[in-house]
């Protein structure tokens, strides 16, 4: 068995998991308290209106039939209509998704760009003031709520110093980068802290390995030893951690988009909760779960790329 068939097996494992996820979301929407019909029809709906609405929405069918329709609709990209906005949920999500994806990716890139060099500095200067400063700042950042970091950056760099805009996300790619810098920094900071801590520890561990001594004995330049031999090995565990934390990043996007008034799916989620827009909440929850599953698969692929020994695992 080679490592790519290992990845294939991981992909196949995701499918039943996602099926159960769909069952759960379906069940939650129908079995938990908080009646969607009341939300749709309002408090003063008559018995007749309720029966009619139930029929239109297919809610008078037996649950298995309802689930079958739910599944079929999902795979046809039909997530129902928004109660408040009266448009298909799929269209809403597709409209809002690019901003959130951009923001999340931007945050992930910023997190890696912060974490990797600083982890090297901290590891190579272990227990010096530089190491303590880097670890202290990140530890402090980990203890701060995302929205608090966002608000302070927004006030200081946006409103007071006017270095960055205080809302929106621009029209061109360059503008996106500029407008979303503070939100991405806010969102990525926690992840950067988690990655830095892990990477620092694994760099310290890898530096002890004998292949580092052998690489030095071969006469390789320090930059090559660090950038190739040490980093590649240290990244293996960090990539897995990165994948596991992408979920946290997507969750954080909900808060960040609210703080910075960015019209992405995170903001849509919060708005829908206050508007009791159940079809949108349900669609978003499924979309987020699908996204995370895709990231997990991607993580496995990168992991297999970095570590030739995965087949043994």
């Amino acid at each position: 068995m080679n490592r790519w068939s290992y990845v294939l097996i991981r992909v196949l494992q995701v499918i039943p998991t996602f099926f159960v996820v769909m069952v759960l979301v379906f069940a939650a929407a129908r079995l938990l308290p908080g009646d969607p019909l009341t939300a749709i029809l309002g408090e003063r709906a008559t018995e007749e209106m309720v029966v009619k609405a139930k029929h239109e929405l297919g809610l008078d069918q037996p649950l298995p039939v309802q689930f079958w329709i739910f599944l079929k609709d999902f795979f046809q990209g039909n997530l129902g209509d928004s109660i408040n906005l009266k448009v298909p949920v799929t269209r809403l999500i597709l409209e809002r998704m690019p901003v959130t994806l951009f923001l999340t990716l931007y945050a992930a890139v910023l997190a890696a760009a912060l974490a990797i060099p600083l982890a090297f500095v901290a590891a190579l200067r272990k227990d010096t003031w530089a190491d303590n400063l880097i670890r202290g700042v990140f530890q402090l950042g980990l203890s701060m709520p995302v929205f608090y970091i966002g608000l302070q950056l927004l006030t200081l760099l946006g409103a007071r110093l006017r270095w960055f805009p205080v809302g929106g996300y621009g029209n061109t790619f360059g503008e996106h980068l500029y407008y979303l810098f503070l939100p991405a920094l806010t969102l990525g900071f926690n992840l950067a802290a988690i990655l830095m801590r892990n990477l620092r520890a694994s760099i310290l561990e890898v530096l002890q390995a004998e292949y580092v001594d052998f690489a030095r004995a071969k006469g390789l330049r320090p930059s090559l030893i660090l950038g190739k031999h040490v980093l590649r090995n240290a990244l293996i565990s960090t990539v897995t951690l990165f994948g596991l934390n992408i979920g946290g990043l997507i969750g954080g996007a909900v808060i960040t988009e609210t703080v910075f008034a960015i019209p992405g799916v995170g903001r849509l989620m919060v708005d829908s909760i206050f508007g009791r827009d159940y079809p949108v909440i349900q669609g978003l929850t499924l979309t987020f779960a699908l996204l995370v599953s895709l990231v997990f698969i991607l993580t496995d692929v990168i992991h297999a790329q970095l570590d030739p020994r995965v087949e043994a695992a």
């Binding site: 998991t17 996820v21 939650a28 530890q139 203890s143 995302v146 979920g247 909900v254």
Partner: protein, 281 residues
């Protein structure tokens, strides 16, 4: 020469209390005191309006200034400790207990219990934690009680994984096998022999988790899905002041510092406990 001193192995002097543990205890101790006796510590009522003293900066009279209703920010932060310490405890207590139980059982019995647990973990990690909590709160309705339910439904997983891994390691140890040979019941082996040796990482994580609980609670409070205004929850306090950040920075900044300090305190406590509880060879 100091040779003789080096040759005789002296028992190490009594282990000093780690500074991180002491610092963590002091910080969290202070917050617990605020939580228990807010009326003693806070100079004003957290909800009393005072239109004579609106949006005042920090002074000796109002240590952290006042908000747009003239409420004393320091008093609100102190009362907030009561709610946020409660959040720290209630978001983590059930996950800790339930997760430990499940982890111990699946770790000890393995096989199908393990397989089921593995599937459940796969499913839960598929949802972004915050999204799942928000979604559950959306269905149940905003408020602290529903937040506790939502977090508890998900949070036990981490403890289960930690304990399971530890128990699986411990199970192979001599004393566990000896227990089986002696004919002890599984319950006795698990709870009297294995668990005390396996629980350290879970206790250490518990401290981190309380910090995470406060972060989550304040985030939901900020979004309006957790504690409801005018309650003095730190996240709600920050949300209250967000429109005044440019003109009256103290309204949001001090509650934010309280959250950060509590987070640092729990982290230090966790580090200190990890050090204290780690078995030494």
């Amino acid at each position: 020469m100091a040779a003789p001193a080096l040759l005789t192995v002296k028992p190490r002097a009594r282990r000093r209390l780690k500074p991180s543990l002491v610092a963590g205890l002091v910080i969290i101790g202070a917050f617990v005191l605020m939580a228990l006796f807010p009326q003693v510590i806070a100079p004003y009522s957290p909800t009393a309006f005072d239109y004579q003293a609106v949006l005042q900066g920090p002074t000796a009279k109002h240590l952290f200034g006042t908000d747009n209703f003239g409420r004393d920010v320091f008093s609100r932060v102190v009362w907030g400790a009561q709610l946020d310490m409660q959040i720290a405890l209630f978001t983590t207590l059930f996950p800790f207990l339930f997760g430990t139980l499940i982890g111990a059982l699946t770790g000890y019995y393995g096989r199908w219990a393990d397989a089921i647990f593995g599937r459940v973990v796969d499913i839960v990690v598929t949802f972004p934690f915050l999204v799942l909590v928000i979604a559950i709160v959306a269905v149940l309705g905003p408020g602290l009680k529903n937040m506790y339910i939502a977090v508890s439904a998900v949070g036990w997983i981490t403890y289960g994984r930690l304990i399971r891994a530890e128990i699986r390691g411990q199970k192979r140890a001599e004393y566990a096998l000896a227990g089986q040979v002696m004919g002890y019941t599984p319950a006795r082996i698990i709870f009297r022999h294995l668990l005390p040796n396996a629980i350290t990482p879970a206790i250490v994580y518990w401290m981190t988790d309380m910090a995470l609980g406060i972060l989550l609670g304040s985030s939901l409070g900020y979004l309006g899905l957790g504690a409801q205004p005018p309650t003095a929850e730190w996240g709600v306090l920050i949300a209250d002041g967000k429109n005044f950040l440019a003109t009256a920075w103290w309204i949001s900044t001090f509650p934010g510092l309280a959250i950060t300090l509590a987070g640092v305190g729990f982290s230090l406590l966790g580090d200190g406990l990890a050090d204290l509880l780690r078995p030494r060879g």
